[in-house]
């Protein structure tokens, strides 16, 4: 019987699950698709309800996880196939070629600077607000802190044509442009899936002008703009003229609680993070005026209502109960006009602002159904992984020995993701010891 745990997804939830299991003496493989673990939380500035610095909380966990004697972090890797059954799974993992020897690389960054494509490739971590090289380290606190050469853009990898200054720049001889994908076959006892969420691209809601108007952005873009380690060094600026927006409107439930875009459920986190975002803008510059257009303010949780109240009283946030119908743009100033019905006093009104932030829906990752198929677990109608019984076994999947946790099961905040990560670790450990007891009486 195999007693290792496979954790898929190295966001805060997967990290927590791995740490809990590792501390209990279980051997864990943490498989992360991206070059670094950390997930969504690594990219956020502050987190509600404490407004603590997100990466400051997460980074120590990331490092502990990486250095943990019982945890093997396999980054830049994906599950190819899972066969067998609880206690005797075989997992085939594709460890993608990153063209850098992880053991030799010190993360000095010389190759990134030397790369002929420096400043040419939109940086996904920064939502495209900045450009990176083909050789890159995704963000400063990345774990593992090693370079990755992006096979989709690197001139040598794609066309075999490049003078390869990156290779010369690396004093450690870590770059290996001939590296190949590796297939690892692992014996696994139980699996935890913690692949997290993604956000809805609001372009199809044409009335809000996302993609058409420079100063309409979505909340993830906002998180990067206000983040001190983001593309603007934490200076919130408008795309159109790099000026600081003084009046900001946040539109809630964009593509969420919305039958037409296929997400009738509530994303449960955005009312809170829009309040957080408004507070941050105010903390940066206290002449900023923030307007939150909400359908219903959903702040269910201890201290959450108080958080909203503080937003109103201490940070001067104006909450307006309306889902705006349209945003129009002033051709010259690129300011935006938000058209809404004042549902409390009646009548169509409009509000001119410098920037609009769309609080866009949390949706399952596009590949969640494929992954579910590989794992033999079921999803709900939207593509979130389904629990076998959401009331009594919220982290058990439909298949024995596979657990699901965090935002890949339903929209949830960091606290809940961590709680679920812990719960999944607990269940995994329980099932492992039960099976062990049966195997060696």
């Amino acid at each position: 019987m195999a007693d290792s745990v496979l954790v898929i997804g190295g966001g805060v939830c997967g990290i927590q699950a791995s740490l809990d299991l590792g501390d209990r003496g279980h051997h864990v493989y943490l498989v992360e698709r991206e070059p670094s673990i950390g997930g969504r939380m690594a990219l956020l500035d502050k987190v509600f309800p404490t407004n603590d610095c997100s990466i400051c909380i997460l980074a120590p966990k990331m490092i502990t996880c990486f250095n943990h004697p019982n945890i093997e972090v396999i980054s830049y890797a994906e599950l190819e196939e899972l066969t067998g059954e609880a206690g005797n799974f075989k997992a085939k993992i594709r460890k993608k070629a990153r063209y850098v020897d992880e053991d030799k690389c010190t993360g000095c960054g010389s190759c990134c600077e030397a790369c002929v494509l420096e400043g040419r490739i939109p940086d996904e971590c920064n939502q495209g607000f900045s450009k990176r090289s083909a050789a890159y380290i995704p963000f400063m606190q990345a774990v593992p802190r090693v370079a990755t050469i992006d096979p989709e853009n690197c001139l040598y990898v794609t066309r075999g044509k490049c003078k390869r200054p990156c290779v010369d720049a690396c004093q450690r001889g870590a770059i290996d442009l001939e590296q190949k994908d590796q297939i690892l076959t692992l014996d696994i006892g139980v699996v935890i899936v913690a692949t997290g969420l993604t956000i809805y691209d609001p372009t199809p809601l044409a009335e809000y002008g996302y993609g058409r108007f420079d100063n309409v952005i979505h909340s993830m873009e906002y998180e990067r703009l206000i983040n001190a380690s983001g593309p603007t060094g934490g200076h919130l600026t408008r795309r159109s003229d790099s000026e600081r927006p003084k009046r900001i409107a946040y539109i809630q439930c964009v593509g969420a609680r919305d039958q037409r875009s296929g997400h009738p459920y509530c994303s449960s986190v955005c009312c809170m993070y829009a309040t957080k975002d408004s507070m941050l803008a105010y903390i940066h510059d206290n002449d900023t005026e923030n307007f939150i257009f909400y359908t219903d303010l959903r702040a269910p949780g201890k201290g959450f209502d108080e958080y909203i109240k503080r937003g109103e009283e201490e940070y001067g946030i104006t909450y307006i109960r309306a889902r705006p119908g349209e945003i129009t743009q002033d051709e010259e100033t690129k300011n935006l006009r938000v058209w809404y019905e004042d549902t409390t006093s009646g009548g169509v009104k409009d509000l001119e602002v410098d920037m609009v932030v769309l609080s866009t829906a949390f949706i399952p990752r596009q590949d969640s159904r494929d992954l579910a198929k590989k794992l033999g677990i079921s999803t709900d109608e939207y593509g979130f992984f389904a629990a076998s019984d959401s009331l009594t076994s919220p982290v058990d999947s439909s298949t024995k020995g596979i657990f699901v946790a965090g935002a890949c099961t339903s929209p949830m905040d960091v606290t809940d993701s961590v709680t679920q990560g812990g719960a999944a670790a607990e269940r995994a450990s329980e099932v492992l010891s039960m099976m062990e007891a049966v195997a060696s009486p």
Binding site: D296, W339, Y340, E341
Partner: protein, 544 residues
């Protein structure tokens, strides 16, 4: 008996005479006091001036059972309002043209100038008219029935359920999207539903708001809960109409009258005069044949000539396009109105009658494919007919789709230099766009003729309606919508506003014909239907 209803038991012609207060009515009165006898077939309706008699009055009289209508006024220079009688003459001429199209014959309407002391002349005219009508025989439409009172109508609660209005969370996105609410602050789609559901029928009787909606579907396009408000309105209007709340129909209901008349059995319509010289046929000879559904264009041509709209050129250009594509379409000599406007104005039963008449005619002509240049007809045939006729199996397309498909397959080529470097802008018709989801086909055609398409601020699914729908409630709000739309078109710098719907064209031209606020330059832009451009790019066609 309802007021205004003419009931004559004898098998005699029934005449309604609209007579002016100052001359003709006084003349009739004089005949009476002088004891000059005249046939009892006439019922007099006194109006202050003959110029007040609209075509709608005459049509309404015919619809209600009159066999003939006379308009009596003062002699030429005697009009007490200077030129009312001249206007009367023009309106009667217009009516005659409409009657001609309907095949009712213009002899059923006449004008007579009669002085206050011309009792004899009045009596003679009535005698003569009675004789003429006897010879003509009873009007084929003398049996037009009013919608049955108490005919099955849906309960508002049921309508709200069926249109998902009960899912509304009162977020106001509909109101904030609605072109009417933007200009008429007391109108809010969500509140219309809410208030109607609260108060039910006492409210519906007075609900003007139900007529304010353009059924443009913008709110529906955006409502997060999929509330189908325009459908709610369409259904709820059936009930409201029965309570005689009719939403101020355009031209006091003239258009609805001839639409209702068109639902009659024994008409002998003469509606194909415009197609002379074009290649078409009246019966299908192969299952691949296309029928061109003309719609109300011949009638619109008559009633909208004062604003220089030329709806018939849309029909002619469409035929010319089809001919150039090697298609000789089928045209039906007895085609009826598609019924769209009646359906959306609460006369569902007349709509069903029209739909079934057309369905019968389509079957008899043996067609399986229909093309139309009118988005409303397109939507109605494609989406509403299958709901009310048995066994609908006909494919329906808009002319822009047919040409766009031919372009794709390479079976037709358009002159790519026709509008080389010309900036144009395009009005998405509600029925073509939001109702049928066709946005690309017309744009593809514009591109193919070399036009430089400049989109308006609102375009595609966010496009704004031309301001009036189903011929109701054309008022200040409608004008404001039209002007702001023309303003948007103008701002693009385009030299022509391309339309793809006869009504869009009519409504914009109408707005341009009225008083324009401030500088005309902000609004005035030539308007041309897409069929005219395409026909020209195929080496045929006429401006229109």
């Amino acid at each position: 008996m309802k007021a205004g209803q003419v009931v004559i038991e004898l098998n005699e012609p029934r005449i309604v005479a609209f007579t002016c207060n100052w001359c003709a009515y006084a003349g009739a009165d004089y005949a009476g006091v002088s004891r000059i006898s005249y046939p009892p077939n006439v019922r007099l309706i006194r109006v202050m001036c003959s110029g007040r008699v609209e075509p709608s009055f005459i049509l309404r009289a015919l619809e209600k059972g009159a066999d003939g209508v006379m308009v009596g006024g003062c002699h030429e220079a005697d009009c007490h309002y200077v030129s009312g009688n001249k206007k009367a003459l023009e309106k009667v001429e217009e009516t005659k043209k409409l009657l001609d199209l309907l095949g009712l014959g213009e002899e059923r309407v006449r004008v007579k100038w009669i002085n206050a002391n011309e009792g004899e002349a009045f009596a003679n005219e009535i005698k003569d008219f009675t004789e003429t009508l006897k010879k003509l025989g009873p009007s084929p439409i003398s049996l037009v029935k009013e919608p049955k009172e108490g005919s099955p109508k849906k309960d508002l609660g049921q309508i709200a359920g069926e249109t998902d209005a009960l899912l509304c969370v009162e977020c106001g996105k509909c109101t904030a999207s609605c072109p009417v609410s933007r200009r008429k602050p007391d109108f809010s789609p969500r509140l219309v539903v809410e208030e109607l559901l609260e108060k039910l029928y006492p409210q519906i009787e007075t609900s003007k708001e139900l007529w304010d909606c353009l059924t443009c579907k913008t709110c529906e396009e955006r409502c997060p809960y999929g509330v189908r408000f325009s459908e709610f309105v369409k259904e709820a209007r059936v009930g409201i109409k029965e309570l005689s709340n009719d939403g101020n129909p355009t031209r006091s209901g003239q258009i609805f009258s001839w639409m209702r008349i068109m639902s009659q059995d024994s008409l002998d319509q003469k509606r194909l005069g415009w197609a002379e010289g074009l290649a078409y046929k009246e019966v299908s000879s192969s299952p691949d044949d296309w029928l061109f559904f003309v719609g109300c264009l011949p009638h619109f041509e008559v009633s909208h000539s004062p604003i220089e709209a030329t709806p018939l050129s849309i029909a002619r250009n469409s035929i010319s396009i089809l001919n150039k594509m090697g298609i000789d379409p089928v045209l039906l000599p007895d085609e009826r109105c598609c019924g769209h406007d009646l359906l959306f104005a609460g006369e569902a039963d007349t709509f069903i009658k029209l739909a079934n008449k057309n369905w019968q005619a389509f079957k008899e002509a043996g067609v399986k494919h229909i093309v139309t240049a009118c988005p409303e007809g397109y939507y109605t045939l494609a989406r509403e007919y299958p709901k009310v006729v048995d066994g609908w199996d006909i494919e329906v397309k808009h002319i822009t789709e047919v040409v766009a498909e031919a372009l794709d397959s390479g079976s037709v080529e358009l002159d790519g230099d026709l509008l080389k470097e010309t900036k144009v802008t395009f009005q998405d018709p509600c029925r073509l766009g939001r109702y049928m989801g066709i946005y690309e086909a017309p744009r593809k055609l514009l591109h193919a003729i070399g036009a430089d398409l400049q989109e308006m601020e609102h375009y595609g699914s966010g496009s704004i309606c031309c301001g009036v729908s189903s011929w109701v409630n054309c008022g200040v709000t409608a004008k404001n919508i039209q002007l702001s739309r023309l303003g948007e078109a103008k701002k693009t710098g385009a030299s022509v506003l391309v339309t793809a719907c006869p009504k869009c064209q009519i409504h914009f031209k109408c707005a341009l014909h009225g008083k324009l606020p401030g500088d005309k330059e902000n609004f005035e832009i030539p308007i041309e239907d897409i069929t005219s451009l395409v026909a020209r790019a195929l080496g045929g066609g006429e401006n229109g």
